[in-house]
Symmetry: C2
Subunit: 117 residues, 2 copies
């Protein structure tokens, strides 16, 4: 009786059968990674959470500064990263800048994770 | 007739009404940020994509090394980051290490983005 050993030559090559599925393209991966990098920060995640749970899904800097107990320049710095990454939009009204979610941006990132994009 | 100016004292305070919603906790934000940081890299996103589209949603290092055209030590380095972050599990079988998705890990990250977690 022959017992197949996991270290037989067959076993050594068996795992390398191509799946036939192309890997995610470099362009898609770079673009997604840039957006994930923007939200991969505790303060920025909390900012997005505050904005998405606010009325009309928008908030001004002061709505965000207070609950996070951060200085306004720190908050503005983080918000700029989220705007540059296409996660938030910024609209100046009077003396205040209001931030809101880019429609579909978070759903699109979520879809990339679950394969439902 | 009085015209309300956007720079009136009322306008200056109007945006700062608390939403009543607590911000995401620091602990939750830190833990999520660590996982997002792990996937916020083009190569690691492509690795996760290869594994999730493979048969049985598992792949060995060589399944990943070839399509990405990366050295095995680079691939192993990236895979370790994903394992440490709780995104992948690693199982040694014979001479090969197989990597698979931690059940629910990506869905849970996606849910954090869409508020459906």
């Amino acid at each position: 009786m022959t017992i197949a050993m996991t270290t037989s030559p067959e076993a050594l090559t068996a795992c390398c059968t191509p799946t036939g599925e192309p890997a995610m393209s470099e362009e898609t991966a770079s673009s997604l990674a840039a957006q994930f990098k923007a939200i991969a920060d505790p303060n920025r995640l909390r900012m997005v959470s505050i904005i998405s749970s606010s009325e009309n899904a928008e908030a001004c800097v002061c709505d965000i500064t207070e609950p996070l107990n951060l200085g306004q320049s720190t908050v503005s710095h983080h918000l700029k990263i989220l705007v540059d990454a296409g996660v938030l939009t910024r609209e100046k009204r009077g003396v205040w800048a209001y931030y809101s979610l880019v429609p579909g941006a978070l759903d699109s990132l979520a879809g990339a994770l679950t394969g439902r994009s």
